[in-house]
């Protein structure tokens, strides 16, 4: 199968949907000839024209809110928020409007929109351009939250998100944009709410999201050399969360490390860890659940500090070993 980048996979999912469904369009800042801050929409305005690839003023609240209104009235907007940190300007529209409209209206109306946005650190853009705030959105009833880690998942989940009748927040990790993977050319959809076992193993489960999936897989290779068999589970979607797959894995391995880039304190890892602890897997646990997450600091600029602020492969290796060799 052909290999394309994660970025191309995202673009392809959008383009394929836009070719078949005239209700789908995209709006955002600089998504026209500029192609978006990361180049995801490059070429789209040339194919679909400025009516369907709508370059907006720098007005995140209005963009998100216009998407809500358009979605309520029959369109299926995709919104690109240039950096996920800027969701902070559109929060009311996402959290108080998009997420709640249907419920507040007693089941009337629907808001089929996708908000795509790059998140994560590693580009040296510092504190206001590097956050991982997916835990916020996952806390809000009415939203679905997706964090694909591979090109394959990105394409399939984005199609599913566009086809979904609810507001979906779709986090793209900046450092994954250039990663490549095998991706079918034809459109396909992956279920929202189905975790993926990215690597099978028997000694310990690592539940990892987004870029941490890759660090976990690298760690697993190293750990294998030391005779530790690691299973890597990628939830792919935080809401809905496929806790069954996670629990089944933990029951099998008896040990688990949860890892995400987001600040550990209050991160979604706490939710995952707690769900495991509350589940039938509790009685299978041979060691306490370990969580890894970002340090409680804004992301610093200096690249060495920046790296140190979030879990790295070695941190995962260390945590797995501590878990495995406990008692």
């Amino acid at each position: 199968m052909r290999e394309i980048t994660y970025l191309e996979a995202v673009r392809e999912a959008m383009c394929q949907e836009m070719r078949v469904n005239p209700d789908v369009f995209i709006m955002g800042e600089d998504i026209g000839v500029y192609g978006g801050a990361f180049g995801v929409t490059r070429g789209m305005i040339e194919e679909f024209g400025p009516e369907r690839v709508r370059n907006t003023p720098i007005s995140e609240a209005a963009i998100a809110g216009a998407a809500v209104g358009a979605a309520m009235t029959g369109m299926r907007p995709i919104v690109e928020i240039q950096f996920s940190d800027f969701i902070t300007i559109a929060t009311d529209q996402i959290v108080n409007q998009a997420a709640k409209t249907r419920y507040m209206f007693g089941g009337k109306g629907k808001v089929p929109m996708v908000l795509r946005t790059p998140s994560g650190s590693g580009t040296g853009a510092a504190a206001q351009h590097s956050q991982s705030l997916e835990a916020w959105m996952a806390h809000i009833p009415g939203l679905k939250v997706i964090q694909p880690s591979t090109a394959y998942d990105a394409k399939g989940l984005l199609k599913a998100a566009i086809d979904d009748d609810n507001p979906v927040i779709f986090y793209e990790h900046k450092l994954l944009y250039r990663t490549k993977g095998h991706v079918p050319e034809e459109p396909y959809s992956l279920p929202i709410g189905k975790a993926d076992i990215k690597r099978q193993g028997t000694d310990v489960t690592i539940v990892a999201t987004a870029i941490m999936v890759h660090k976990a897989l690298q760690a697993a290779v190293e750990l294998e050399k030391e005779g530790i068999s690691v299973e890597v589970v990628d939830p792919r979607t935080l809401v809905p969360l496929d806790i069954e797959t996670i629990v089944a894995s933990v029951k099998k391995t008896g040990r688990v490390v949860v890892v995400h880039e987001a600040v550990k304190r209050g991160g979604f890892g706490g939710e995952i860890a707690s769900l495991i602890a509350e589940s039938e897997a509790f009685d299978y646990l041979d060691a306490p659940i370990r969580r890894l997450g970002g340090k409680a600091v804004p992301i610093p600029y200096n690249p060495i500090l920046e790296k140190a602020a979030i879990p790295q492969e070695q941190d995962i290796i260390d945590a797995v070993k501590e878990t495995v060799f406990r008692r």
């Binding site: 369009f25 809110g65 309520m72 029959g74 369109m75 209206f105």
Partner: protein, 328 residues
């Protein structure tokens, strides 16, 4: 066709009579709600539009059924004016299953999607970008409908006002922004909250027309809205209308109204009552007689009593629906 009054072309004599009735319906609805809140019979909070009936009724009068509106926390009038059933509205306030939102929304979230009312909104300014999105659909799908966006003077200081109107302006969308300037945002006098005489003057910041209108004159409301709706429908883009009006009641269920005087209130009640003013015009134009006017008033009052009966006799939602309706 009405010849002795200046009204938009679709406004027939029958329609004027209907609007007169509608204003009473709005007034009685909110007075009844006021009464229930005062008695502690309704949960939550509410914001009444007594005194502001003409801006809701007048603006919506020139709309077609396919047109849409977005409304506010002070939204009962808009809702009725866009054709909602007062029974289901009252049932919603009573938290009943038959309410517009199955009892899940309450006063601040009544929506009537089928009739094109995209909902009240508990967030000041929250509906403005949504209206712009609705207008975008109309444009992209070439549906020809116009979206009326209601909000208050206070809302005009929210960032959403600015961002959304600018977006509508540069995209030339079929939306009409109606700022109901009732002189206060909760307790904040508009004179202290903006440093300009008219909110409508803000239209110039977006390159769109702005109009100030007497929001208590339903005829003026209809005419200025009609013109703006026509512009929007013809692809000429948005308009900002500022309707000067006044809310007779407090901001919400408890309000000592220390921020304004009783004299000011009386002036608006006694001399600028939108219903009394319309009645006078209809009488003078020979469209209504005193008796007919009284009959319409009584009928509206009766309908509200019936709405209460409907609400009271409606079932409470079952606990089973708590987790329904979160996702489509």
């Amino acid at each position: 066709m009405i010849t002795n009054l200046s009204v938009p072309p679709m406004i027939t004599e029958a329609k004027l009579v209907e609007l007169f009735h509608q204003m009473w319906l709005i007034r009685f609805f909110d007075e009844k709600v006021d009464e229930f809140f005062a008695k502690g019979m309704i949960h939550g909070t509410t914001h009444l539009c007594v005194g502001q009936e003409a801006s809701a009724a007048g603006a919506c009068a020139v709309l077609e059924e396919r047109d849409k509106i977005t409304s506010t926390h002070r939204g009962h009038g808009h809702c009725i004016a866009k054709g909602a059933d007062v029974n289901r509205m009252m049932a919603e306030l009573f938290g009943r299953e038959t309410g517009y939102c199955r009892g899940k929304g309450g006063s601040m979230h009544i929506a009537d999607v089928e009739k094109g009312n995209l909902g009240a909104n508990g967030i000041v300014g929250g509906g403005i970008p949504i209206a712009v999105g609705s207008a975008l659909t109309s444009k992209m799908k070439n549906l020809g409908y116009v979206t009326l966006c209601f909000f208050g003077d206070g809302a005009s200081n929210e960032g959403s006002f600015h961002e959304a109107i600018n977006l509508a302006a540069v995209w030339n969308l079929p939306v009409v922004f109606i700022c109901e300037n009732n002189q206060y945002g909760m307790s904040g006098p508009v004179k202290e909250m903006v440093k300009i005489a008219n909110i409508a003057d803000r239209a110039a910041a977006y390159g769109i027309p702005g109009h100030v209108v007497d929001g208590n004159d339903i005829f003026a409301m209809m005419n200025v809205t009609y013109e703006a709706v026509q512009r929007a429908r013809n692809g000429e883009g948005p308009t900002l209308i500022e309707a000067k009006t006044y809310r007779w009641k407090g901001h919400s269920k408890s309000d000592a109204k220390k921020y304004r005087t009783r004299e000011e209130e009386m002036e608006w009640r006694n001399n600028r009552d939108p219903i009394a003013r319309m009645k006078q015009v209809l009488l003078a134009a020979g469209i209504l007689s005193e008796e007919e006017a009284a009959r319409i008033e009584a009928k509206a009052r009766q309908e509200i009593e019936e709405a209460v009966l409907f609400a009271e006799s409606s079932p409470m939602p079952s606990l089973a629906i708590l987790e329904e309706d979160v996702y489509a």
